[in-house]
């Protein structure tokens, strides 16, 4: 593999052709925050929290580090004023949905997001798609998927698949950066099995 030298935050970094900026940065000990990224999954570039500024052939652009390939002499800024501004706004936007999410709160503290100026509409899901992609790419079950688009986009369990596959798996639960997934699963389960046993449990508690 061809060796490539690029500059990240003023530091010359050696990488191999085909690597992403994120991989190159991490190999050099430079941290870039991620939310929708997972080693076992295809990069998705949806949360945008890994946004970095790149300068190539005289043009500056904002790209997602998790997918953008390294190139010779690429200049990357992972903490420029613009990048910080972007991450802060993205966190604020996500916190309106999942105010209690630990990962988001930690990042908010790191980046100094002290208030959320948007009306809270806790769907608890930030649509990072980790669960959807893990189920599709690793488990190959497609028990969970996205429905609708735009601001109406949401994640749902497919009841027919859920009833067969999910009870003994639940591996996606731990991937969820918010608590949305588990709640949704429980809801789905209740809807699939409105049996006396589940209602009995409730009365027990």
């Amino acid at each position: 593999m061809k060796e490539i030298y690029l500059e990240i935050d003023g530091k010359v970094v050696k990488a191999r052709e085909g690597m992403t900026i994120l991989e190159a940065a991490r190999s050099a000990g430079i941290s870039i925050p991620t939310l929708c990224y997972h080693e076992k999954l295809e990069p998705y570039a949806a949360c945008r929290i890994c946004a970095v500024e790149v300068e190539s052939q005289g043009r500056t652009n904002v790209v997602a580090a998790c997918v953008h390939p390294v190139e010779e002499k690429l200049v990357v800024r992972t903490r420029s004023e613009k990048v910080i501004k972007i991450r802060k706004m993205l966190l604020e936007l996500m916190l309106a949905h999942a105010p209690e999410a630990k990962v988001l709160q930690d990042l908010a503290q790191e980046y100094g997001v002290n208030e959320v100026r948007f009306e809270k509409e806790p769907s608890f899901c930030v649509l990072c798609g980790l669960c959807v992609r893990y189920c599709a790419e690793v488990k190959k079950k497609n028990a969970i998927g996205f429905v609708d688009r735009g601001t109406r986009r949401e994640v749902i369990f497919i009841p027919e698949v859920v009833s067969k596959e999910c009870p003994r798996c639940k591996e996606c639960f731990s991937l969820c950066p918010t608590e949305a997934l588990q709640a949704k699963f429980v809801l789905t389960q209740v809807l699939i099995f409105p049996s006396p046993s589940s209602s009995g449990k409730e009365t027990e508690e």
Partner: protein, 642 residues
């Protein structure tokens, strides 16, 4: 039809088609594009055919069902050849007169002619009507001369001569050079030089390459690609085949939206005809070059017009854009190098080949060459499709071609580039329209939507409207676009509802900047344009909404009231009888009063109050005066006063 095996055979065929045609034979051309069909063009055609039959003129007169010439405002459009008499707003009932008067007696029917609104003069010929006269109709000009279902019509106008020239006289490299030299820029929105894009795909190291026509035209109110594809499908096919030859592709797709059934039908017929003629398929024109085209119908998502979204959709996946790089030119359809151009871009290619790159570059501005088709809609007299040279001023498009603003209203802004375009104000009307100038003004060329707005348009409400469209049409994948649009829409909505807060403008700008910079695809990256451009040029309107709770255009219902001036009301009962919610009290000889609690602000009273009274007023940003006391409500009859 025997297939054509060489350039010479194509010219033979063309000659035989032309020989059979008598240019002096009367021909009634009726636009049967989607717009005119909606206005009853099919009935007009049927009535004309019926009339011709009745008068026994079947062999003496031709009827041609054509594509859209662009003057949709005045459909159904009928042109009588050879004189080129242009009849507008033709109804089936006019058929008898058209045949007996114009065809038989060679008399022009005055009432079907275009009347110049300023001089009152009636204009007979298409080429003299200001709407057409001020255009440069290189691409859509042929629509009215062609039956899109007839390849012979296209061949008669010189069709496929560019393809024949390319295959018999030029190497793929030469074709590529010519297109690069022409500086043809993509008409789909971004304006990327087509020749360079072709070159990337051509140079990509893979045997299999694809070429695609992007006909997923989704901007509200835009229909130029539809007009080309349904009105002159062979011109798009010819461009695509030439491109495929230059790029080294043997398979092409036309991605056309499902909502364009006539375009799907006509391009399907055209492909079949081209195949039968040996202009598509194996060994095209005996050159050894093979190329096939498939039509794929889009399932109705605006975002599939974005090229990576289109590719996903074409592969049967959800239409969600993916990051670039890799660019489609390197890794596109089925991971193979793929070149995607818009309908209008492809349609330009045969012209460039036939007339040369230097001819093409003689039209337009430094950075943008050739013509551009705009769909001119909104508050403008002549709505329709207009094709103009790059570099024409906005003022010329709106006033010379478009005939200005209807009524005595004042121009306020023109929105270009579709929902993610920007609004350009009056002081910029002198702007020379091209890719770069529009971008400088905070808007975009987009695919060529042009919505004219007059003084009755609220610019905050307009921004809200477009963001609402984008909130629906974003794929929702990335945070910057989905959440940015969601919050911008919420803020715009509260401003129009009168609950905007100090700092909202700045917050909008802050979100807009992040959505523009950090979104995954062009939809998100351009989504803030309607917000930013209206703030840039109409900040005072935002401030009026927020600080004074006033809508200067009297559009935002929560911020306006209707009020009857007791000094002007003549108690004529018109508004009172027509109020749909019974909110107006009063009676004969009794001054009318609007019950503000009941009023739904539909504006009916305002519209209907006779202008000579002008008693109904719109109020915004100030309290409604208290109703006058009961005892003074009675209007005394003349003579009884005092």
């Amino acid at each position: 039809m025997p297939r054509i095996n060489s350039h010479a055979e194509l010219e033979e065929l063309r000659k035989s088609i032309l020989l059979k045609r008598d240019l002096n034979k009367p021909c009634i051309a009726v636009c049967t594009g989607t717009g005119c069909l909606a206005l009853g063009a099919a009935e007009v055609v049927a009535a004309i055919r019926e009339e011709i039959k009745k008068q026994g003129l079947e062999v003496k007169v031709d009827v041609r069902e054509t594509g859209c010439p662009g003057f949709c405002e005045r459909g159904t459009v009928v042109v009588i050849y050879p004189e080129e008499i242009d009849y507008l707003q033709v109804q089936p009932g006019d058929a008898g007169e058209i045949v007996s008067q114009t065809i038989v007696n060679k008399k022009v029917i005055d009432r079907l002619l275009y009347v110049d609104p300023t001089t009152g003069e009636k204009i007979v010929h298409e080429s003299e009507i200001p709407f057409y006269k001020n255009q440069m109709r290189l691409l859509i000009g042929n629509n009215i001369k062609i039956d899109p279902k007839s390849i012979d019509d296209y061949l008669a106008l010189g069709g496929y001569s560019a393809l024949a020239k390319v295959l018999s006289q030029m190497t793929p490299e030469q074709v590529l050079e010519e297109v690069k030299k022409s500086n043809l820029r993509g008409r789909g929105g971004a304006g990327f030089p087509a020749g360079r894009k072709w070159e990337f795909t051509r140079n990509a190291p893979d045997e299999i390459k694809y070429v695609i026509v992007n006909a997923d035209e989704g901007d509200p109110g835009a229909f130029m690609d539809r007009a080309l594809l349904e009105g002159n499908p062979h011109s798009v096919l010819e461009g695509l085949i030439i491109g495929a030859y230059a790029i080294g592709s043997h398979e092409g797709y036309i991605y056309v939206r499902q909502e364009y059934p006539l375009a799907v039908e006509n391009v399907g017929i055209a492909i079949k005809q081209a195949e039968e003629h040996g202009l598509l398929g194996r060994d095209i024109l005996g050159s050894g070059f093979d190329f096939n085209i498939k039509v794929h119908r889009g399932a109705g998502a605006f975002v599939c017009g974005e090229e990576t979204g289109l590719l996903m959709s074409l592969q049967g996946k959800a239409g969600e854009p993916r990051p670039r790089p890799p660019y489609p030119a390197i890794k596109g359809l089925w991971d193979k190098p793929t070149n995607i151009n818009n309908v209008e871009t492809w349609a330009n290619v045969p012209l460039i080949i036939n007339k040369g790159a230097s001819w093409f570059t003689s039209i337009g501005t430094e950075g943008s060459k050739g013509t551009k088709i705009f769909s001119l809609v909104g508050k403008v007299n002549n709505t329709g499709l207009v094709e103009v040279p790059m570099g024409i001023t906005l003022r010329d498009i709106i006033y010379e071609v478009g005939g200005g603003i209807p009524g005595d209203k004042r121009f306020k802004a023109v929105q270009t580039g579709g929902p993610s375009g920007g609004c350009i104000p009056e002081e910029q009307l002198h702007m020379k329209v091209d890719f770069d100038e529009l971008t400088k003004a905070g808007s975009i060329m987009g695919s060529g939507g042009m919505i004219v707005m007059d003084e009755d348009t609220c610019m905050v409400d307009i921004a809200r409207y477009f963001l609402n469209f984008l909130a629906d049409e974003s794929c929702g994948k990335c945070t910057a676009c989905r959440e940015g649009i969601r919050q911008m829409l919420k803020i715009l909505t509260r401003i129009t509802e009168g609950t905007g807060r100090e700092g909202d403008i700045e917050l909008l700008e802050e979100i807009a900047e992040v959505t523009r910079d950090a979104s995954l695809c062009a939809l998100g990256r351009t989504a803030p344009n309607p917000v930013l451009s209206t703030i840039r040029y109409f900040r005072d309107e935002y401030e009026a909404h927020i600080k004074e709770k006033r809508c200067p255009a009297y559009v935002c219902k929560e911020l306006i009231s209707y009020y009857i001036d007791p000094n002007k009301c003549k108690a004529c009962m018109i508004c009172l009888r027509n109020c749909p919610v019974g909110a107006i009290t009063g009676g004969k000889k009794q001054i009318h009063v609007i019950d503000q609690e009941k009023c739904t602000k539909c504006g009916t009273c305002f519209e209907l109050c006779p202008p000579r009274f002008g008693a109904v007023k719109r109020i915004s940003g100030e309290p409604v005066p208290a109703p006058i006391p009961e005892e003074v409500k009675i209007i005394a009859k003349k003579g009884e006063e005092g």
